[in-house]
Symmetry: C2
Subunit: 123 residues, 2 copies
DNA sequence: AAGGACTATATGCATAAGGAATATAGCATC
DNA sequence: GATGCTATATTCCTTATGCATATAGTCCTT
């Protein structure tokens, strides 16, 4: 019984499409960052450290670089392993603006659905 | 320039994952429905008639039936082509309850992101 | 009644997002 | 120099979804 429900709502497929990408654009808007370090900052947006997939993060950053939303450089000196430091491009900043509009639409759709659900008056 | 931004935010990939599925569960919660007819009702949730992909709709309904979230029967009599009439199962109703919780989380994440974006004070 | 328009459902092909596992490599510390 | 940690990268796979196309019955018009 419970297992069936778990089956329905299980897994990791509750991410909003490209939401990670938008979070990254926002985090990099006014300060640079690197892959591993960004993970901690993503907690702010509700990503738990184990929920967030490291490979997804790196793949996303590289993809965003290809699309000229961010650029990267290897860190000069510094302790520990080398870090690839990312920063947002102008193009990325414009893209963020547009994504915010899209997210507002998403939000209002969710609100509509929830309020209609509440109207059902389920016991 | 504008084209590049369009490139970033173009296409149809701004759907929330499995959002359609949840809308269908809600629409079928207290009254039955069939594929084509559900399209009109989905407008309520922000799906424009051309935005909504018909094949996606039918495929989604069939998938939900496989997962025992809905059941279907061919309509008896009635004018026009035969319709496959869907209704929600108990399992589907429980699933909806769970999805609502997930959507509340999604919503709060979006809100957090938007408010942080507003804090940037972009001209 | 033949043709065309419309309703309704279904399927094959392709792409994109993202998870799991694994690989590589430098640095730290003992 | 062996072990463990930090950091980045890649391969394989599944899922969600769009586009195009197929099928078939009904209705309307001439």
């Amino acid at each position: 019984m419970i297992e069936e429900h778990a089956l329905f709502c299980n897994g990791k497929h509750h991410k909003m499409e490209r939401f990670l990408e938008v979070c990254l654009l926002l985090l990099l808007y006014d300060e640079v960052g690197y892959g591993y370090g960004l993970i901690e900052k993503l907690v702010f947006f509700g990503f738990s450290e184990d929920e967030l997939n490291v490979s997804t993060l790196y793949r996303t950053l590289r993809k965003m670089e290809k699309e000229d939303l961010v650029t990267s450089n290897w860190e000069e000196g510094g302790p520990g392993p080398r870090r690839r430091i990312y920063e947002t491009t102008e193009n990325g900043k414009n893209g963020l603006n547009q994504w915010i509009q899209i997210l507002k639409v998403r939000k209002s759709r969710i609100e509509k659905l929830i309020s209609r659900y509440d109207d059902l008056n389920i016991v």
